[in-house]
């Protein structure tokens, strides 16, 4: 029987084909138990084969946690990851660029090995879910045959290199960054200097400062195209930023150099990689991103080290070879440009044209955005879109960080026909890059770390907002909503007008899905500033939060201010007050609806749940204490907003102490207010015993408290104060999660001290 390997022989780049053979051999060795599971997990991740929810072989079906009896038993492809359990395949699409042939193959793979859906991610990748691991090698071969590699799509490596989807056709760019993004990807792919990172490394390119497309400030390395006049000649280069990142504790990238000449961008990227590999944290994953290295060294020292490293690099032809070919580089339109004529316009066209069509700087051509709900496109649609691309634009298709697809170089005169073809496929939804076009990470649908259903919420909001999109005021339509299923920020909730990330709260002994509401983030200016949480709201009330804030914005708006400007003018305190009763959860007997998540009728759980007879009373004490801790975090945020960095730092430390104390009191009521006492009791009862440990993050959040307690560090500058506030917020969230876990396991009532809690409460 012919295999894909035989069929595609000679069609794959030789080195890629060899790498896939090696990976297949490693799979066999792992099956035989000859490769250690942790090592194999990293090998698998570097091929883009990721874990997925329930791959530990168990799932709560709504009545309790049940084992999933996979046929190959408990044989694993990584720690706690069952071999047979379906996983996710991430496929790197450098700068989001795809051609129709690649789109056909992506569609085929989704159909044959996944669930018929290609999912576009917030970093221009494509993900396939529910993939059986044994299907990985043929998938990788079929991708390789059309020029796509999944190498280093996950794992501790250089991830997909992203770039503005409008690069090359944008009216505001300094120059087209596409060839630079592509060269960076090619140069660093599999490079020996990137093989020893402690964590992932993300790179983005942007053609200008003011727009959001590149999101440079939230990347480990971000480059903004700039030009300079030197000796009467225009010279290309990049304003280079390092140390940005969202994740649990977001950092805005700092300026490394205001002009790195184009021929230096690759060697500098290489030198940065070497410094990161050599000095970056390796053991503590939570502090291993380059942002922590930049912060601990300071940007000047970091830059000095990079420049020293640069001097030692042996010359590499590839640094500049592509630059010599740049004059010949450029996308060729398929047809001659011509303006939209007076032809009759079908129903829906005008609305779509208003939101989804961008006039290129090249006269007679447009970029047409295909809005994908939650970033999803079916195999059938993808294949048909490839066909449309062939006929209208040739090779010019890109994915976007807004989880859409754009067709570039569409002749204006073809727009009506194009719209009709998209419409027939269900791909003509208007509202690209508007409040309706919600970004969401996979959340509890498929992500192992998800707490709440980001996609369920996004689908609900999208349905509600789309129904009234036409009536929405333009100022509201221009807002952005981004949702993450947990604090890890894959949905980029920090950089939107309204951001939400999933948390949970214990109410009367039941776990209730909530979202933290994040306001004040800035999407423009390459994600110019990050929002901060103002309070947790039950998941089912989030649509009302959106209505409440958009209504208030319209009523109280001054002049032409944006929501972000409005939020910063009225302040987080006033916005938090508007939440009012929306933060409340009715008792389960009164309204059980709140106790399940959007799109999932199972009773909500973040693990196995149980309620002891006295749990309600114990809960009320700890929940009360934890809500006070939350209040302190909020006050810290207000200080931060007012530029009172020391006060913000002090308050955030107090919030952490209050959170720790709340937990300690569950076991030992007589804990004092002395920070040393609280920290030592917390360490002994919750850290050393690992009771506080998160299944994935381990003891990371406790380290925030310990470090702050040991160093007694003050705020210093705005960035440090902000980090302390973020850390305190996460620590308090972790206290909530720990308290829920402890109550569910009944461990709160172990020992004498706990019984005194119960007695006291009764």
């Amino acid at each position: 029987m012919t295999t894909w390997k035989e069929k595609l022989e000679g069609q794959m780049p030789e080195d890629w084909a060899r790498e896939i053979d090696i990976f297949e051999n490693q799979m066999e060795l792992r099956r035989q138990g000859k490769v250690e599971e942790k090592l194999f997990a990293e090998t698998r991740l570097r091929r883009g084969a990721y874990g997925q929810r329930y791959d530990n072989g168990q799932r709560n079906d709504g009545t309790g946690t049940k084992p999933l009896a996979f046929p190959q038993g408990q044989s694993t492809k990584g720690p706690d990851t069952v071999w047979d359990a379906p996983g996710m395949q991430r496929i790197k699409i450098p700068f989001g660029g795809m051609n129709p042939e690649q789109m056909d193959v992506l569609a085929d793979l989704a159909e044959e090995y996944s669930d018929g859906i290609c999912h576009i991610t917030t970093r221009q990748d494509i993900q396939l879910h529910y993939v059986h691991f044994e299907d990985t090698p043929p998938m990788l071969r079929r991708l390789a045959a059309v020029g796509i590699t999944t190498r280093e799509a996950c794992g501790n490596s250089v991830r997909n290199v992203t770039a503005c989807p409008l690069a090359g056709v944008c009216r505001d760019e300094s120059f087209d960054v596409t060839p630079y993004a592509n060269a960076t990807m090619q140069f660093l792919l599999g490079h020996p200097d990137i093989q020893d990172f402690g964590r992932k490394f993300k790179i983005a390119f942007s053609g200008c400062r003011q727009h959001a497309c590149g999101l440079v400030t939230m990347h480990d390395m971000g480059a903004i195209a700039v030009t300079r006049e030197v000796d009467g000649k225009t010279v290309r280069g990049f304003e280079l930023y390092v140390g940005g990142g969202l994740g649990a504790v977001p950092h805005e990238a700092v300026l490394y150099d205001d002009f790195v000449a184009e021929d230096e961008i690759l060697p500098i990227a290489q030198a940065i990689s070497r410094v990161f590999a050599r000095l970056g944290e390796k053991r503590n994953r939570a502090r291993a991103r380059v942002k922590f290295l930049v912060k601990s060294l300071g940007i000047d020292e970091f830059k000095r080290l990079v420049e020293e490293e640069r001097k030692t690099l042996p010359h590499d032809e590839r640094w500049t070879a592509y630059i010599e070919e740049l004059p010949a580089y450029g996308e060729k339109p398929l047809k001659d440009g011509s303006a939209l004529n007076g032809a009759g316009r079908p129903e829906g066209f005008e609305q779509w044209y208003d939101t989804n069509v961008y006039k290129q700087r090249q006269e007679g051509y447009c970029v047409a955005a295909v809005t994908l709900p939650l970033g999803d496109i079916t195999s059938y649609q993808m294949r048909a879109l490839a066909e449309i691309a062939r006929r209208y634009v040739g090779e010019s298709v890109r994915t976007t960080v807004g989880q859409n697809v754009v067709l570039r170089w569409v002749r204006e005169a073809d727009l009506i026909e194009l719209y009709q073809e998209l419409d027939a496929l269900g791909l003509s939804a208007p509202g690209a890059e508007s409040i309706v076009d919600i970004v969401a990470c996979p959340g509890t649908d498929t992500c192992k770390l998800g707490i709440a259903s980001s996609r369920g919420l996004a689908a609900e909001l999208r349905t509600r907002l789309a129904a009234k999109a036409v009536e929405l005021d333009q100022a509201v339509r221009d807002m952005r909503i981004k949702i993450s299923g947990c604090f890890n920020s894959c949905g980029q909730h920090h950089v939107s007008d309204l951001g939400f990330y999933g948390v949970s709260r214990n109410v009367g002994g039941y776990t209730v899905p909530h979202f933290q509401v994040v306001v004040g983030g800035k999407w423009v200016d390459n994600a110019g500033s990050y929002g901060l949480p103002i309070g947790a709201v039950p998941s089912k009330n989030i649509p009302d939060v959106v209505t409440c804030f958009t209504d208030a914005f319209l009523k109280e708006r001054e002049g032409q201010e944006s929501f972000q400007q409005y939020a910063s003018r009225v302040g987080k305190k006033a916005l938090k007050e508007k939440l009012g009763d929306l933060t409340k959860v009715p008792a389960r007997d009164d309204d059980a609806w709140y106790y399940s998540d959007w799109g999932d009728p199972r009773e909500f759980t973040i693990g196995d749940m149980g309620t002891g007879e006295c749990a309600g009373e114990v809960v009320s004490l700890v929940e009360y204490d934890l809500s006070f801790a939350e209040e302190l975090v909020f006050e810290a945020q207000l200080h931060l907003d007012d530029g009172q960095f020391e006060a913000a730092a002090e308050k955030s430390f107090k919030a952490m102490l209050q959170g720790a104390k709340a937990l300690v009191k569950m076991q030992f009521l007589d804990v004092t207010d002395d920070p040393d006492h609280i920290v030592s009791e917390f360490r002994q009862r919750y850290y050393d015993t690992e009771v506080f440990f998160d299944r994935f993050a381990g003891g990371k959040f406790a380290q925030y408290l310990f470090r702050r307690h040991e160093s007694k560090e003050g705020a210093g500058d705005a960035a440090s104060a902000r980090t302390l506030v973020e850390e305190s917020s996460l620590f308090v969230e972790a206290c909530h999660a720990c308290s829920a876990k402890v109550q569910a396991q009944g461990t709160a009532r172990e020992g004498d001290a706990t019984s005194s809690v119960v007695t006291l409460e009764i």
């Binding site: 029987m1 012919t2 295999t3 894909w4 069929k7 929810r53 329930y54 799932r59 079906d61 709504g62 009545t63 999933l68 009896a69 996979f70 046929p71 047979d84 359990a85 379906p86 056909d104 085929d108 159909e111 044959e112 669930d115 018929g116 859906i117 879910h129 529910y130 059986h132 043929p138 709900p373 939650l374 999803d376 496109i377 079916t378 059938y380 649609q381 294949r383 496929l425 269900g426 791909l427 939804a429 649908d445 498929t446 996609r455 369920g456 689908a459 999208r462 349905t463 799109g599 999932d600 009728p601 199972r602």
Partner: protein, 195 residues
């Protein structure tokens, strides 16, 4: 000479519905099926794609195969497609896949929550192959597949006359759409397969 389609395992089938049920209700039904182990196979999770127009709808993801109430090309139907190998020759595998789909369709017809939406039309079925290597969408595959298909259709539609049609786009997966003169409810179709 043997054709590669003889080795086909990733067989799928879609029985069309008279109208579309409410996806939100289907989600609830599928979760309940997992709790009760109502259909064959190891059931893992429910995936909701009802937000995608003309999409795969709501899936009940299993290890051996996926079930779905599917809206592809705006034509709602009950789908089952196999992901893991089955015993028997091609005809036998085709019969097993159809029977599994019909078992699910029968249960859906009985779900009072779904109302009339989940009633099978019973006169049209689509067979497809999620394997472009073993079953490219061409005339060669069709003629090699035909004997197994005829065997299935003779039983399923009790010898009633039928029309076969294939979307010949070579990029599409191999597919056969069959319309019979007379239809039947899911239970009756299933009983015929087991006769």
């Amino acid at each position: 000479m043997a054709h590669s389609v003889d080795n086909l395992q990733r067989i799928g089938v879609k029985f069309f519905l008279s109208e579309a049920p409410d996806p939100e209700k289907v989600i609830g039904v599928f979760h309940r099926w997992i709790q009760n182990g109502s259909v064959d196979g190891m059931l893992i999770d429910v995936a909701d794609y009802s937000h995608v127009e003309q999409g795969p709808g709501v899936l009940l993801v299993g290890h051996e195969g996926n079930y779905a109430v599917d809206w592809t090309r705006n034509r709602p139907g009950v789908v089952y497609y196999r992901k893991q190998p089955l015993e028997g020759d091609l005809g036998e595998r085709l019969r097993t896949v159809c029977e599994t789909a019909l078992q699910a369709a029968e249960l859906l017809e009985d779900e009072s929550d779904l109302g009339a939406g989940a009633k099978l039309r019973g006169d049209e079925v689509q067979i497809f192959a999620n394997d472009r290597l073993l079953a490219p969408n061409d005339a060669g595959t069709q003629s090699a597949f035909q004997p197994a298909l005829d065997g299935l259709l003779d039983r399923l539609f009790n010898g009633s006359s039928r029309q076969l049609c294939r979307d010949e786009d070579p990029k599409e997966r191999f597919n056969m759409d069959v319309k019979a003169e007379t239809g039947a409810a899911a239970a009756a179709l299933r009983a015929r397969l087991n006769d």
